[in-house]
């Protein structure tokens, strides 16, 4: 019952790419945040997979994953708070409307 490391890495890479794609192309801000979250979780898969099947398996990867989860949560919290502030000023969460500043 062994799943090879490479499949975890592939899964993580796919998730990362999906997340990146979403973060760069989606218009709704909340979806962008979700996409970013997806990228970070892809990394977590990587970390946990390495922690079990890496060159030198040890627990550090899982600890790392825990930290990255926490930090991601904080990031999303700030993101949502900013979104609320923005929504109050602008009445939109569409990223295309954020064009007050252009050069």
């Amino acid at each position: 019952m062994m799943v090879p490391l490479s499949s975890f890495l592939a899964l993580s890479a796919i998730l990362f790419c999906i997340g990146l794609f979403g973060a760069l192309t989606k218009r709704n801000f909340v979806i962008v945040l979700v996409s970013i979250e997806l990228m970070l979780n892809a990394v977590n898969i990587n970390l946990v997979a390495f922690s079990k099947y890496g060159a030198i398996p040890n627990i550090t990867g899982q600890v790392f994953g825990l930290f990255s989860m926490t930090v991601a949560a904080a990031e999303v919290a700030v993101g949502l708070a900013t979104l609320i502030a923005l929504y109050r000023n602008r009445n939109t969460s569409d990223i295309r409307d954020m064009d007050q500043m252009k050069w």
């Binding site: 019952m1 825990l66 989860m69 926490t70 949560a73 904080a74 999303v76 919290a77 949502l80 708070a81 609320i84």
Partner: protein, 122 residues
Amino acid sequence: MFSYWNSYLFVVLFLLLGIFLPFSSIVVLGPLIRPKNPYKAKLTTYESGVEPFGEAHVRYNVRYYLFALLFVVFDVEIVFLYPWAATFKQLGAFGLVEMLFFIFMLIIGLLYAWKKKVLEWM
């Protein structure tokens, strides 16, 4: 060692069953035995007997967001407390002091939300 894999396999079975049951009964079994007669009036949104008006996705109170934010922050802190609690015996007094610092910061966070009147529900 076997127990480790078996346990997770068991969990996966639960997941499959958990999805299978509603899926089979709603999507597969349901249409065979229940009537289906939709018409326009039936499909209108329920609004206590009057015609629905306005946008249903109303702007709800911003407090919901605030509580969601608070939840995210504090729930994640709990994630750190669990491993600490599980290995508390090995960590000893140093672990205690470290975690007291952590909890102290948690309390400051709570105090902050309290003082800034985030915890009041209007």
